[in-house]
Symmetry: C2
Subunit: 492 residues, 2 copies
């Protein structure tokens, strides 16, 4: 695969100086069109062999383009906060907003290749990492992010020469790392693993482009042209991006709402029992979250349910048992300006807890397959692919050691009406019932169907939905606390 | 001072239940008025003795008010990222946007009082910390943030009893920390230091309110009422906030532009010398930033100057010598929506570098005393107080071990015209000259005066301005690199 990038491509100074002004102007125009009209985000991944000049090219971009719409991120060894979260967390943080370009050096392909050469290409670990990368890239592409993946290649002798030249110049000596030298020693093996990884991740929406990096002038112009062409194509033919939806086919199952309709809503707890049991489980939860082992884990709790199902009041019963320093409650409402300029999952990634921390989501990423689906706020393709994205997201959390607990609070339509009326009758609770709640109530059946579909498709073995009989709020709260404490105890 | 908070204030259950519904409704209405009309930020500091129930009150607020516009932050021991930055960094990060309320537990007064009791109230360290707190609070108040500072007091016996009650209940036992118990042992001393600190920081714009915290019902209602009253007053009488400007009086000195007019713009460097010297200083800078000692320091470099003075191209000569992982270039333009909802300095605090990191600002916090002053984008009082705020800000950086370097690039009006025309004649550089640049050029004299005032008032002993003769770009770049390397070498 790399043969055609070992033919000795070069650009002499005269050609370069003729070429660059035109290229710069075209890149700038593309930047402004992107910012003013097209409004999608571009992520340029510069990956490749040590000494191939990734950061030189990034510097060149900063010189050629308008730095106000260009953000460069170089990823080093993960810092303390990054180590406590899934590997993709820092990439999500660094995503450029719509209308601008992010240049990523040493991003996820660096993580992938680091240290792989020893295991070879058959390890289960490599396969899993490749799958995760494809998931991430598919999600970004589906969200309209343009991915430009460039691999800087050097033939073995050229890599040796480049590293020697860098080491000989006192200004660039520091660029040559021990990793680079180690890589050079196992050149063939590294190339094979890289070739495998590139093949496995070169997809229709994010194909790899290999650039021969021996001659810096050739390299920079080639990369500039690739960026220009890719961005320009998408700007000029936005419709061309429409891709087949990657969601699994929907099987019509008119009876799957049964799972919700058959919930036994008669379950009750009398007030005396309630106070006793609540105290018991709060005490247990308090003790568990203070265990040393939890200092190396984290927890995410999700609350979904129809309006007035009791999400907020249940959450308060949990936080009562917790140290204020260790939890955050994230109420999920309509997205802000900054959130609208990013892929859907961006705002949830930002809220992931560190070690010893608990994030409680009052509504969550399930909004896409609930309200957004029912209200028609996003195209069907978007919510259909969301099931897969959600499962991928939660899988990453679990693999990171995060305990994921998801509660669906089920009430009857009649009970909702009683609660709405009671809330509206209490001046200081009136705000809890909005016109939107009444509107949603009219679509009760559609919400019920969406919730049943959601439970069907995202109640995985590793992150099952807990359906809570919430008609009696005492019963519901105790069940929630008991479940949380049990799941925490099981995990520790 | 605390005597009137030791009289045994209580609220019986009947009174409480009569009071709370009214209070909640009024608080909610205040929240909506704040969010929809008044648009200022509120920071509630809950401070006080161990066991006095700060987090219980915070929980109560979450129950009483609309959690969408209420953000609670509890500050524990600083994490790795926080320890590398000035103490105030994490408070700036946590500020609520306009229209909402932030409740801060254990914020700056906790930092202040922790461990002070041993030194007593005369230590220079305590005095300096008090001054920093006043600076921070004055800045926030000047920016329109409403500060509500509440101190929870307990008489000695009441503190002992509260801590015992908490320790006896298995659900709350964890709330009693070793710090709390240590505090109880030196109750009188702690009270004296706290009293001193409260007196010293009770200002007109941010007075302390002391609440007797023995009875939880009384405490929560009292705090709720204080919050309601303070917020309501500001909403209903926004004009009442206009405060005397705290900037030092302006002494008319018509000749202070001399400092700029007398810069020797004839300084030149021929291209051969330039390349040799540039390489030499880049080499030195590269070596210095890689020294182990710099791993415990950080650097902030500021670039200001008229349009086309060569800020961007000078910055690129610096970054060429740096590892892409260790620097960020921050181009400062008009504020975004999120930035407009925060105090002026918020966006600069966010960009502060960690250990071993360099942040280069292409334009900076000096915008307020340059463009905003000249273009009339903010009231005179705002840019006048900015000099003090800037000095305070930079002092905090320096005390944190951050190396601060500030460059003013000086060119002549004629040279600017030549550069504008040359840029406009080059297609790929055309974007660098905007209609705004031409507009600013018309106000050359006003900018010159603003720059001279700025240098006058913010060129402190600890963070002096470096005036760079930038008529010859070669001379300027070499001087900048040489200065940077020298200042770094001096600091390490």
């Amino acid at each position: 695969m790399f043969e055609s990038a070992e033919v000795g491509h070069k650009l002499d100074r005269a050609e370069y100086e003729k070429e660059v002004p035109k290229l710069r102007e075209a890149l700038l125009n593309a930047q402004y069109d992107l910012f003013e009209r097209a409004r999608f985000a571009v992520v340029v991944l510069l990956s490749g062999l040590g000494g191939s000049g990734r950061s030189e090219t990034a510097n060149r971009f900063n010189e050629w383009m308008d730095p106000r719409h260009l953000h460069t991120h170089t990823f080093g060894p993960p810092n303390a906060l990054e180590r406590e979260r899934p590997a993709a967390w820092r990439y999500w943080q660094a995503l450029p907003p719509k209308g601008s370009i992010g240049v990523f050096l040493n991003a996820w392909y660096h993580d992938l290749l680091a240290g792989r050469t020893v295991d070879g290409i058959d390890s289960a670990d490599l396969q899993r990492s490749l799958r995760e990368i494809r998931q991430l890239e598919t999600t970004l592409a589906d969200e309209g992010v343009l991915l430009v993946k460039i691999w800087f290649h050097l033939a073995r002798d050229d890599q040796r020469k480049r590293l020697k030249d860098l080491a000989d110049d006192p200004r660039t000596r520091w660029r040559v790392t021990e990793d680079d030298l180690a890589q050079l020693k196992i050149y063939n093996r590294y190339r094979d693993v890289a070739e495998h990884a590139l093949r496995e991740t070169s997809t229709a929406e994010a194909p790899w482009m290999i650039v021969e990096a021996t001659d810096p002038r050739y390299r920079d112009v080639a990369v500039g042209r690739i960026l220009l062409k890719t961005v320009r194509e998408r700007i000029d033919r936005p419709g061309a991006r429409v891709r087949p939806v990657t969601a699994a086919p929907v099987v019509a199952r008119p009876v799957n709402v049964k799972v919700l309709r058959e919930v036994d809503l008669s379950k009750k707890l009398d007030p005396k029992d309630y106070h006793k049991q609540l105290a018991k489980h709060q005490e247990r939860l308090a003790a568990l979250t203070r265990r040393k082992k939890f200092g190396r884990r984290s927890m995410v709790a999700v609350f979904e349910g129809q309006g007035a199902a009791g999400k907020g009041s249940s959450i308060r019963r949990i936080t009562y048992a917790l140290d204020a320093r260790q939890y955050t409650v994230v109420p999920v409402g309509p997205p802000t300006e900054a959130e609208r300029a990013q892929p859907y999952f961006w705002r949830f990634w930002r809220q992931l807890p560190g070690h010893g921390q608990i994030a409680i989501f009052d509504r969550s990423w399930y909004g896409r397959v609930l309200a957004e689906r029912v209200e028609g706020l996003c195209p069907a393709g978007d919510w259909m692919r969301a099931y897969r994205e959600i499962n991928d997201f939660e899988e990453q959390l679990l693999r990171n050691g995060t305990i994921v607990v998801k509660f669906w609070l089920q009430i009857s339509k009649e009970e909702q009406l009683r609660r709405f009326k009671a809330l509206e009758g209490t001046p200081f609770k009136r705000f809890k019932v909005t016109p939107e709640d009444w509107r949603n109530r009219k679509r009760w059946n559609a919400y019920e169907e969406a919730a049943a579909d959601m439970i069907d498709r995202t109640s995985t073995e590793i992150a099952p939905w807990m359906i809570v009989e919430a008609e009696d709020k005492y019963y519901a709260r105790v069940k929630i606390l008991r479940t949380l404490a049990r799941m925490l105890a099981d995990a520790l």
